[in-house]
């Protein structure tokens, strides 16, 4: 390993949760206090490591970590660059806050192995963000998925398990497609190292172009399943609405794995200026993204329960993110990154709030059922208003700034983007206004027996602070994102970091 760089710290975000999860599984099965301590300490350590790596990646170029010191492309490598460092930091921060909320609401004690699964989930997420090998990306996808299956049905119950069955079935099909795509790529290129693929694809023989186009589209389909793009989004509303609220909040970063993988492949492996695929991927993603935004907005307007409203808001935010990603240019990717950070925070905020409200019986948004709902205190209503402002993209919170960046980055020929983004925002404002007035103004039931305490509203409040900080610091943050997008669109430094020639 290089002496001056981060050395073995690069693999710590994968190894640390894996080891802690094993220990939790073995020794903390019947000791909930110990499990909490292990998961909490591990998550705090991950946050510190992510901060150190983020700082290092911001200052220096991409850094390589060879597993077993085998040279790329023969061995598997991890690559720390600005994008992966950003995703690591976002994951660690989100998961720390949500884990504290899980402890505050007692969700983690409603079944065994919550903390072990949580740590395995983090291991899979971190690995997916760090790896520089396409097959290894598949493996980490499976790690994070299998942990998410367990977390999704945490707490049990028939409807939840049935929703879990749908979720697993859809993702198994996605995994199969992923394998078909990877095998096709390997059969043509003879390599699965991402940087090596990027180099070799530039001189692709004309005979193989058709196969690689198929593989590229298959790959993008898989990421579209993960990112819940219409028409591959059907798994999301049921899964997110039925999952425990804290788990749904963590899952806010799962859809971003799809977005991350789409950005990575679409800027480095199949960039728009590659002769073999050209602008094909962007052309396919943009209509799907706009449709996703529209479906999400209509879903927000039509949702009959609060968790489902939050799920459709998550779908709409993925539509907006992919609208920017489909541009694959420096400005568009920069806008997408800013919006992704915002939408992760906003979606987690809304899911946590929905969970706290639903635990007091405030679930239904329909006229009759909503009228029987409990009367809720002012702070909860204020937080809901803030979450609605964040999710719908109204000023002053960062959703507005993010959407502004996305609209600024749209190409002039993409005439549909402005009306769909603005119309979708309008529908979401209506949907949230309806939900809020039904939940807080029309509810005539008795106040909940267990009053809403500050301990349960503190973490959602923290998310509001984070969103406010993202708005206030929009200038420096978007500058940082712009530099990151510049590196992504011009991946020579990433490719050079892989030191491909050394193994030959």
């Amino acid at each position: 390993m290089s002496g001056a760089g981060m050395g073995h710290l690069i693999i710590a975000p994968v190894v640390l949760p894996a080891v802690l999860a094993g220990i939790t599984l073995l020794f903390a099965r019947n000791r909930p206090g110990l499990a909490r301590a292990l998961a909490g300490a591990g998550n705090a350590a991950l946050l510190v490591i992510a901060l150190v790596l983020f700082n290092a990646a911001s200052g220096a170029g991409p850094e390589l970590y060879r597993l077993g010191d085998w040279p790329a492309p023969f061995g598997i490598v991890l690559v720390l660059d600005r994008l992966s460092a950003l995703m690591l930091l976002m994951t660690a921060g989100l998961s720390m806050a949500v884990l504290l909320q899980a402890m505050a609401t007692g969700w983690d004690r409603r079944g065994v192995h919550f903390h072990a699964l949580w740590l395995f989930q983090l291991m899979g997420l971190n690995g997916a963000f760090l790896t520089g090998d396409a097959f290894n990306l598949f493996v980490f996808f499976e790690v994070l998925l299998i942990a998410s299956y367990g977390l999704m049905v945490h707490g049990g119950g028939g409807p939840r398990i049935r929703a879990g069955l749908h979720y697993i079935a859809v993702n198994l099909v996605g995994s199969t497609l992923f394998l078909f795509a990877l095998a096709t790529i390997y059969s043509v290129m003879g390599t699965l190292n991402m940087a090596d693929l990027a180099v070799k694809l530039r001189d692709l023989p004309a005979d193989d172009v058709a196969l690689m186009r198929v593989a590229a589209v298959l790959l993008m389909l898989v990421f579209a399943v993960k990112g819940a793009l219409v028409p591959l989004h059907f798994w999301l509303p049921g899964t997110y609405a039925k999952a425990p609220g804290v788990v749904a909040a963590l899952f806010a970063v799962m859809t971003k794995v799809g977005a991350y993988a789409a950005i990575r492949t679409g800027t480095m492996i199949f960039p728009p200026d590659l002769p073999a695929t050209g602008p094909l991927l962007g052309q396919m993603l943009l209509p799907a993204a706009l449709l996703t935004l529209a479906v999400g907005a209509v879903g927000v307007l039509g949702a009959r329960s609060l968790p489902r409203l939050a799920a459709y808001a998550a779908i709409a935010s993925m539509g907006t993110a992919f609208t920017a990603i489909a541009g694959f240019g420096p400005q568009a990717i920069g806008a997408a990154l800013y919006y992704m950070v915002h939408s992760t925070l906003a979606a987690a905020f809304l899911f946590l709030l929905a969970d706290v409200l639903a635990s007091r019986g405030a679930v239904w948004l329909d006229g009759d059922l909503a009228a029987k709902g409990p009367r809720l205190p002012g702070p909860a209503a204020a937080l809901f208003l803030a979450a609605a402002v964040a999710c719908a993209g109204l000023p002053p919170l960062s959703g507005f700034i993010g959407k502004l960046f996305v609209l600024q980055a749209t190409a002039p020929e993409a005439a549909w983007v402005w009306p769909v983004v603005l119309g979708g925002s309008f529908l979401m404002i209506l949907g949230f206004a309806r939900a809020g007035s039904n939940l807080f103004w029309k509810a005539t039931g008795p106040a909940p027996a267990r009053p809403l305490g500050l301990n349960e509203l503190a973490i959602p409040g923290l998310f509001l602070l984070a969103l406010a900080a993202l708005s206030v610091l929009a200038g420096p943050v978007s500058d940082w994102m712009a530099v990151t997008a510049g590196h992504l669109v011009d991946p020579e430094a990433y490719i050079a970091a892989n030191r491909l020639g050394e193994g030959a």
């Binding site: 299998i146 398990i161 749908h166 199969t176 039925k242 425990p244 009959r304 329960s305 059922l369």
Partner: protein, 135 residues
């Protein structure tokens, strides 16, 4: 001629597995769906194995035969087999769980009878239908 026969056989097998898997996957009961997913994973495993090119009598070790075959697809397919095996185990458990908890193995959520909203079980507190919807 012999090589072409083998290629046709493998390609045909992958196609048939994919066809059967896709058909079963679209059924309405969880058991055929799981079988379909298993068939799909067989298809993709064969496919990965075949991308290293089909060479009779070639070892995946350099120096053992004149022209060695590519060892990497064999490593990839082993990984894929292990993962799909684990995933199948998980979905079988989940299918059983859904069967025992809800009393049937239908993939669909129960239809919305007598005005029951189809998302009636969204209440994450107890995952019970709303009192009005339960009658």
């Amino acid at each position: 001629m012999q090589g072409i026969g083998m290629e046709a056989l493998v390609a045909g097998a992958i196609g048939i597995f994919t066809f059967v898997g896709t058909y079963l996957m679209l059924r309405l009961r969880s058991f055929p769906v799981i079988l379909g997913l298993t068939f799909l994973s067989y298809a993709v495993n064969l496919f990965i194995f075949a991308v290293g090119r089909l060479k009779p009598g070639a070892d995946p070790i350099v120096g053992q035969t004149e022209i060695p075959t590519d060892p990497l697809p064999q490593a990839l397919v082993l990984t894929a087999i292990v993962i799909s095996f684990g995933m199948t185990a998980v979905i079988v458990m989940m299918g059983l769980g859904a069967y025992f908890e809800t009393g049937n193995d239908k993939v669909d959520a129960p239809p919305g009878k007598d005005g029951t909203p189809e998302d009636a079980s969204d209440d994450p507190a107890g995952l019970e239908p709303a009192p009005e919807a339960r009658q």
